[in-house]
Amino acid sequence: MAAVTGASAAAPRGRTAGARARRHRRLRVLAFLSPWLIGFTLFFGYPLLATVYFSFTRYDLFNLEYVGLTNYRYLFGDQDARRSMLNTLWLVTLMVPLRVLFGLGAAQLLAHLKRGGGLFRSIFYLPYLVPPVSATVAFVFVLNPGTGPVDHLADLAGIPLPDWFNDPDWSKPGLALLGLWAVGDVMIILLAAVLDVPRQLYEAAEIDGAGPWQRFRHITLPTVSPVLAFAAVTGVIQTLQYFTQAMVAGKVAAGQSDQPGTQLAPGYPGGSTLTFPQYLYDEGFRQFNMGYACVLALLLFAVAMLFTLLLLRQFHSFADGEAS
């Protein structure tokens, strides 16, 4: 500082003023970002590192013991972990594509309706707004064998329906059905994409004699495919954390209560609805195997991160475009 003031008068003053302005600007950025900077550090950065640390320990909230790789080794022989992974995999590989396809079909249908399109759009979207817990309770009741209205109607029509949430073979299809009912989120982004397809392309194709299927196959599908990919990847990430519906369906179907101490193992019937996040919850907060739960959390992190990176690559192009 002293050397600077000792030099010629005009230039250094300009430089210090510039430095001050720059520092002022930097402080301003910090001030605006501060809530998130603190939040990111406290509620993401720290717990992520702590998860790694706890994964090498045995911890039940009272006694902490370093156990090295024991938790990791346990994972390989853990049948329940395997089962929960397979259940989550079932949902990811079957429910996600079904939702995307059904969402696309519904969007395509809505795009073609000229009269009443707005009303139908609202009705198709409505189930997505129903809170997941309420929707699940309603579904278990409506499909309930013997007393459920849908089961009753199917009975009258002579269509045999499975036991859904009381049958290990049908509980996951029941959850998939619930996912299809609440397809609104996927449908609405696909509808926007379908409506964005330039009309001239369709008109040109119609002049060419392309039928509805050909128009869909050669014009709609290629144009909306980036959005389809987006819906699929976000769908996978959401389904990796699939918890609420599976937990509530099992609980309501089994008639279990949530009173502390009376909690039963999740996954009714027969572990068929035990998803990976549910297993993590069970290990961490019912069995209080905090260390082992952290191993499961890191595994979930690795898989979710993989799909997040896929998604970020899609984001990248437009984030760059807007950064200028």
Binding site: R25, A31, F32, L33, P35, W36, I38, G39, F40, L42, P47, L48, A50, T51, F54, A106, L109, L113, I123, F124, L126, P127, V130, P131, V133, V137, A138, F139, F141, V142, G146, T147, P149, L153, H218, I237, F243, T244, M247, K251, G255, Q256, S257, D258, P260, Y281, G284, F285, M290, A293, A297, L300, F301, M305, F307, T308, L311, F315, A319, A323
Partner: protein, 307 residues
Amino acid sequence: MTGTAARALTRTAARALTRTATAPAGGRPRRGPGGPRGRRALLWVAAHAVAIALSLMFLAPLLFMFLTAVMSDEQTLSGDLWPAHWQWGNFTEVLSGDMARWLGNSLLYAVLGTLFMLLSSVPVAYALARFRFRGRKVAFVLVITTMMLPPQITVVPLYIVWARFELTGTLWPLILPLLFGDAFSIFLLRQFLVTIPRDYADAARVDGCGEFTTMVRVVLPMARPALAAVALFQFFYCWNDYYGPLVYAKPDAWPLAVGIATFRAAHNVEWNLTMAATLLTVLPVIVVFLLAQRVFVQGITLTGVKG
């Protein structure tokens, strides 16, 4: 690409040829029931039939929920579809129980959570949209990453910390973090704020406004639809949240979502009361959405974005 174009071209040519061959010279093509208009009408009917059928399927669970909610307990087990007599008292009976406390907890979580989220996320989104600084892109990517990653990843250490502060058992471990920005809201707001022309903010700055004043007085009023949207999403998120309260809250602090899930077991399988309680959880969300749809539209027309 060129291959497809070439194929399309040859198809056009072939089509043009066949048309001249079959169409009667000078005459307009006949539009019988099998013609293009007939087929179009058929498609119209088919599309609407499918749409109506789908609508019925989408609405049926809600309708059954309502019809069951006003039945007597015995009738719910009969498989009847229509209530024999309308038992409106089910709703008041449900509300006189634990439901009132759950409702209070849900409102506390959703209202405070939304308020805190707005206070903390708006400046962050503003900075990411307006300021140029080193690490801006990295910050944005980190926001998207935290938005996508499952909450289960960090839940164990966070629980341990909240337990040390003796806040487990309450909803505060879910409400307080919202004072420090919510990734999804930051992302959404930032996407909206970058679309507001810089000129407005620059004009305010020329008038001698500081950055904070510019944000509050000039930019935020224009962002009202986006603010309404993120507030609504946050409110719904808190209202619907089951995982968070299940981990942290004791029965005293349970919100509706957790209460509803245990309702059937606690009430000896009284489906009519269970459905009444469930319906009361669904209604506010639908009402808020229907009201807010108007707020969105109003917000868009009120902003100066259109010039």
